[in-house]
Subunit: 216 residues, 2 copies
């Protein structure tokens, strides 16, 4: 009984092939990821590739889904929290975000999706944003809501506040890394960059007595 893999259930063998595909993509970009090359690298046949993933686009989509399945969402505490705990969580989020975005696999997949963005359909870009970013966005917005509920920060527009936080953390480093630039942190450590961004975020949104600077 083949157990009819319900929708997108992958066998270990298939996951292994996707892993090799990611390695090829990281190593040489999209044009290094050929069906023949992958079959050779993964010790499988091209026929199996097409049987499992349909066509090349299906393979790319499967790679994105596979990678997204590895990045588990951040934990979220529902109740109120102390100020220092909230700040620690924010710093942790910033560090995680920077770590994910600067990862080799993430960069390679983003390059892949961006390269396909002009094509009609544009399935991959949407897929990447949906699968990869949704969890991150949700975790962050939950955290911001908890911070507001606990009286540590103030904002009117949650989404706008999150985007500001994102901008303070990431700045232009993501695009620069996508372009292949090295050392975008400029000597500063990832943790220092995250802490710096969170300080700036609090300067904008922290609740202070007789001070409305954060209420823009």
């Amino acid at each position: 009984m083949p157990e009819r893999q319900s929708r997108e259930e992958l066998t270990p063998r298939q996951r292994d092939v996707l892993e090799r595909a990611l390695e090829l993509l990281v190593a040489g970009g999209e044009k290094a990821l050929t069906t023949s090359g992958l079959a050779r690298a993964a010790n499988c046949s091209k026929e199996s590739l097409y049987k499992w993933f349909g066509d090349r686009d299906g393979l790319l989509a499967a790679m994105i889904a596979h990678q997204a399945s590895k990045v588990r969402g951040f934990t979220d505490t529902g109740g109120t929290m102390r100020r220092d705990v909230f700040e620690t969580h924010l710093r942790g989020f910033a560090e995680d975000l920077l770590r994910v975005l600067s990862g080799e696999v993430s960069l390679a997949l983003n390059r892949l999706a961006i390269g396909q963005a002009s094509r009609e359909g544009n399935r991959l870009g949407a897929l990447l944003v949906e699968q990869g970013r949704r969890r991150i966005d949700q975790a962050a917005t939950r955290l911001l809501e908890a911070g507001k509920r606990s009286g540590h920060i103030h904002y009117d527009d949650l989404d706008d506040t999150y985007r500001t936080l994102y901008g303070l953390i990431v700045r232009d480093m993501h695009v620069r890394m996508l372009l292949g630039e090295k050392g975008v942190f400029g000597g500063r450590s990832l943790e220092a960059q995250a802490a710096h961004a969170i300080r700036q975020f609090f300067a904008l949104y922290e609740v202070r007595e007789k001070e409305t600077a954060g209420r823009l």
Copy 2:
């Protein structure tokens, strides 16, 4: 006497061909920019293309240089300036930055360079940053220096301050646009987004009496 066009001097005919090449790139991405297709679209021969630009990479580089030559640098006033003038200049910079980054040609060229980033050499990414970003960066840093000189803002690290400004203005919109997402401004106008970012920037760096929030 062929007048030996010194280095990168292009004839009007060649500029015209590059213009058609940019159109093709914007319309269909990198794979739509084939030598045969360009020759057909521009009514020239493939032989001429290879004679003028060497090979395909030379053509891509010429396209970037050609586009960069069209984006003239921002004007810069050297002396001191009033506070409202400084703020207006900052808003103007923010609007220009958003306008450039969201332009079709800019997006297409960035996608092209990002798609080639994994290749060795990586000539295009560096070229794009060098030719396209340098002027923008310089104009902004000059503006920030003028603002500090005039006593409107305070900072210790110029480069870090500029990157914060950039992050507040652009946030994650550039990457989302590169991925093909529509409506990244979320209903808000470009000008409103720029003004919002500048307000936040002043909240972080404005010189205020008995207030050191900006001195992070």
